[in-house]
Symmetry: C5
Subunit: 355 residues, 5 copies
């Protein structure tokens, strides 16, 4: 199959700051929209040209430019010039396989998040997209890889004049965007929880051969999530401790709130992991118990019939002088003997709890 | 079955600070009671309206308003206005699936605890409720999800004029509430200990098929407890180190006492975990030993009867010229041969310690 | 069996500082003895009344009051008043299931230690007692649960005028007491070492069925020891770093010495643990090897006799026209055939190294 | 086979700073080339004598002397004198089995890196070479063990007047060299990923006997990589925190970029490790399942034929008075009986899901 | 066997600082030699009396007194008085089972190291001796338990006027001694490496029954080494960070060099551990695979001959009316039937890849 995903190796040898898209291209077209607002006014528009928003940057209030689908490289370069972005920031926006991080470039803060989409139960892969958020004194830039409508509820809240968002600055908006991304993890957790509960029920009934593969699949997903959650937590901690003047004191309480959510998600994931490892133990022991059972059946049958067959063999011998063969009740006695042996064996097995 | 539990996903998309109850609704009605006391006077009453307690808030002494069952959202909002509570505090009171934490809002400290109820031995699930405690300069607010009478002994101590509580401030009362919650863990530990001892006795006798499931069930419970105990410990540490003027120096010694209890509980839980893992090892090796035993029985029987059956087969052959068959003592000699083989086999097995 | 041990749950609901004995009551009577000494003089006496030692407290020099067996609650309360002890200290002296800790109450330091008694080889349980040591400007209080003579050597050293102890203050005496307790762990370690060596020899010969239980028993004991050693180490560290004026600079070097001993003990215990886990691996693999051996015997026997029995079966058939049966040397040829088959099988097994 | 690799033991007894080559000699000849550049001018030459570059060292701009193949000891000693290098630095350049580290010698910084070459799929060993980078106020020295052209792209970038490199100092060049080395790990990761995916496909089909060896081989490679990556990360951290005046503020952002790459590589490696351990679980359980299957076949066959053979044995007995033998339909009835037994057994096995 | 080793328990009850030899007595006699040197002069002598070296202590330059074999207690006490050593130092020199540590007594630094001797391949035990090094303003004391010539190369270097040692102080000499001890670990590592490689080859061929014991023996050795290496590393770190005026700035670089060696050794040991655990996995799976193979042979044989024996049994029955028995080609048909069954079975096994 052709790889549509560009890997990091495509950049080996290039100087840092080179703008090359790394990762799977999730969307061909990029939609750019601008919202300018302060407590009293609100202006929304779709823009084609970055230069078009230069006039807004001089105004007070918050200017939120959101990209749905990663912008083309020339657009990004223009953006870099207009907003004074560092080449490494531009590079990071295009390298969509990064772990969550926060970087303070003085004039603006750059935040990378990963957003996992709750998957359909029949699909095996867990897809994630990279969300980049930048905010400075009077602007917020957000980059989504796909147009999934994650930020639509935030647009609604901005349109609503009464919300807290309208009264506060870009840091509050950036917080709201982060909050929206982190909240999506809860959907994912519930999805996982349902699956694990389903597997637990399977385990009680009779685990199928595919059980272990399903379990490993879930484990793999959880490893992926963990890989993104631990740096997320670290990032939020460094945001809390950051002394950037771009972040208001009052916003810090809300950042702490996201931190609590993240810890909650990590805790739940750890619990899931413990449950999976418990299920693996039970599964392996179930298999071993079954084998035990098979062995017991074999042993019981063999132990029962071998002595009987031996007795039958004895009286199948062709010796000339075998007194039993001549007896009137010889045949009956042989049966009695064999039934006695069988009965004794069965009693022994019952005592051993094998039967 | 219908899910009565509201999960976090119900809040995805809502701004932080939205008052939505998350978690299982444990009690329909909320009982609100107020105790106002100082060293000399004591006033107790059930209240219907939050506004009713406004007059008390101006007085010196300690005002303890306790909610048994979570309050309705409008009641909570009124409370927030009267006591100047941050929206995130109100939200946290309603999100009843939080891990223990302490937050310093300047005017008041907000503490979240989890209270586990010692379960009946036949029930599988371990239920916990969230206890929220808030205290400021002259008030303490406590929120229980259910009316379980946990704090009744503290009310008694307040009614008793001689106790230390009457002479000290809200921080002492808050400590007493926390102490009552943490002490309940000891009941839980003893319950667990009895079960583990029961399982150990089972293991010595003969572990039933359900053994592993019981063990995993206990493990799951202990994971749940751990999940709540580690943040509890962390919370108490941050309480100890807090420099809030709301906490008296002399109270800190008592906080340290709770810390010691928490460590004691965690230690005991760790010991339990080690015991469970030791029991798992013994169980698995017991199963494997049994299989060994089954195999030995099979091997002994097969090894015993196969040569005998072979001998019988030999003399069951129909060759015309088989001298043994004609002998007078041929049959007897066949028996002697077979008994000799059987005896040799048994000696060999005894030497190998299989018998 | 009746539980003579009072558990923590007996105190649920009581305010902190309540004097209730928690833990097993090891000794009914408490013996109180006082030693007053300085560089030149020495006075020893058994005392009945705490009030009797009040006069000594005004004198300079060191006053060591030692309790062998925990004191009755009224005695303890009187002690608390005379020496100005905090209620929590008194409570901790009676709660005999605590982990080692050090608490600085300003006027005095309170130290809790655990003392394990080297057990007799036939007993399963590992008993420990709590040793409390308190020291202030001119006094040392020590509490043992049992009269085991642990501190007798120290009394001897005090009686000997030349020792370092007589020239130095209460901190040196407290150090000597701690040192005596920690040194006892070495006896325990040697006891454990002997047992582990015994098990290793067993393992080389032939592990009995009880091997795993013995191993788990040792593991359990080591978990108990670890549970007490880690906080011991932590406690000594905090003693070293403590800036209490009650501790002399020169004593700190000796505290460091105890620290080294503790680390040495912990290290040895870790090594034991690694050895036990290595022995478990060998044991499990031995069992699995034995099963392999059993299987091989079964396979060899079955593979040997099945073809032979088949051949015998062939010539036991009653077809009218079976030419071999009529041959003069038919029977002999059958034997040759069977011996050839058996020989071939045995060669095959030898090639496979099964024989 | 003769060991061409000189091990550390060759240096036991020698004073530190002794120049002895430790590690495998990868290249016999050393190629030395010098590039002198500033923003405007560029001079490139191959040099034979270290003394030849002394004149350059007085000029401003950057002087990059690169060694492809380790220099002979006299050359190295001369180099040490010309550039004022510490004997330990010279020793470290020759000890090619070091872990990545950074050392600040005041006048220059010394950096050790390891470079792994993406291996061909049929070779088992993973080869690495040591790259040493030294930079001071106006020079950069780089030492490669082999002439692999890793730094060729950087030479190209220097020749190109427009690049950032020409405008900045030796720290930027050193960063570029480090970046080139770290980027090579991505090639290695992709190589590993392909192999792991191949093994996953194998596992789904039918794992061959060599599966476990391949898996252990990969594990060993990853351990090697880890061993080099953790100190690499540590080294970059200490570079970031270094307060050496040799490193420009603006370069620090780029160092942070390498740090991110390193974390990314470590994360990916951890994921690979989790995948391998998951595959091991599946493999072991597959083997155990197969054994189960073998056992079932044996049990089914034995359980089926033992009773039948017993029946046949019964009617092969030679008793004089066996009524069935005389019956007209005796033989047919025996067949009916045997078929009934076989059918019953098969039904039982189907119920047990063994068939 | 008689224990010649004095254990720690011999000191239980003695005050700290008591001079009792703990550990195995490795050498009966102690050889004392003194080297006095500065840049220009050198004096070497064997001494009998500690008092003999008093005159040297007043001279400038370095006085190195080395003990080969631990000194007698009176000698040690005299040494303590002459050099002003703390009683705990003297005690530590005699307690030869200590972990590496560094202690700063102000006037001198006390360093404990462990030296492992590369063992002969046929011996099981790994022996170590304790090396104590003390250095002050103008003296170095070194204590070896055995006369193994470890420090002979250093004496050579001192005799050689050109070396760095002659120009520098006691800290340099102490470093050289430490370096000599740490370098010896490399010999040990190579010894271990050879053994592990030998085991790997064994594993590929056919692991013998003793494989697991050898593996556990190696593991035990590595645990012993680890137990000494981690505190060694810690000790060197604290030496590096020590602000003792006894250590020169320029010596610190060399201490850092030892640190690098220690890390290198620890890394290698970790790699060995991972290799051993990988080998254990392969070994266990090999055993399980062999069992599988044995089971398959049994199953194939049983499955092949049981139906055949059954057929033979059928035609061995003695029914009066069995038409097949009368047929002319009955016997031949029976053979055809049996060969057909056997052929079918073999085809089935080949399809299952069992053959």
């Amino acid at each position: 199959m052709p790889r549509t995903k560009k890997t990091r190796s495509a950049k080996v040898g290039l100087p840092p700051g080179s703008l090359v898209h790394v990762g799977e291209k999730l969307s061909e077209k990029s939609k750019i929209s601008l919202i300018h607002y302060d407590e009293l006014s609100l202006q929304e528009m779709e823009i084609q040209q970055i230069s078009g928003c230069a006039s807004f940057l001089k105004k007070t209030g918050v200017n939120w430019i959101s990209f749905q689908g990663l912008p083309e490289i020339p657009v990004l370069e223009e953006l870099g010039l207009s907003f004074g972005l560092h080449p490494l920031t531009l590079e990071d926006i295009l390298n969509t396989d990064q772990r969550p991080k926060m970087e303070d470039y003085g004039d603006y803060l750059y935040i990378v998040l990963r957003m996992f989409h709750p998957e359909s139960p029949d699909r095996g892969e867990l897809k994630s997209e990279q969300i980049s958020i930048l905010f400075g004194a009077n602007f917020v830039l957000s980059f989504e890889e796909k147009d999934t409508g994650t930020f639509e509820t935030i647009r609604e809240r901005i349109r609503n004049t009464k919300g807290r968002l309208r009264k506060s600055g870009p840091d509050s908006l950036a917080h709201a965007l982060m909050d929206a991304v982190v909240d999506h993890y809860f959907l994912l957790l519930e999805n996982l929880e349902e699956r694990i509960e389903g597997m637990e029920e399977d385990l009680v009934k009779a685990p199928s051969a595919g059980f272990l593969n399903t379990l490993q699949g879930l484990k793999k997903k959880m490893i992926l999530l963990r890989k993104s959650l631990w740096p997320l937590r670290e990032m939020i901690t460094s945001l809390e401790r950051s002394e950037s003047p771009l972040i208001n004191k009052s916003t810090l309480l809300y950042v702490r709130d996201i931190y609590d959510h993240t810890i909650h998600i990590i805790d739940t994931l750890e619990t899931f992991r413990d449950m999976l490892s418990g299920m693996l133990d039970i599964y392996l022991s179930t298999i071993s118990n079954r084998m035990n059972e098979v062995m017991k059946v074999l042993t019981v049958i063999a132990t029962l019939f071998m002595p009987l067959t031996f007795v039958a063999g004895i009286y199948g011998m062709n010796f000339k002088y075998m007194p039993e063969l001549e007896w009137r009740w010889g045949y009956a006695m042989a049966w009695v003997l064999m039934l006695a042996i069988a009965g004794g064996m069965l009693l022994y097995f019952r005592k051993k709890n094998w039967w």
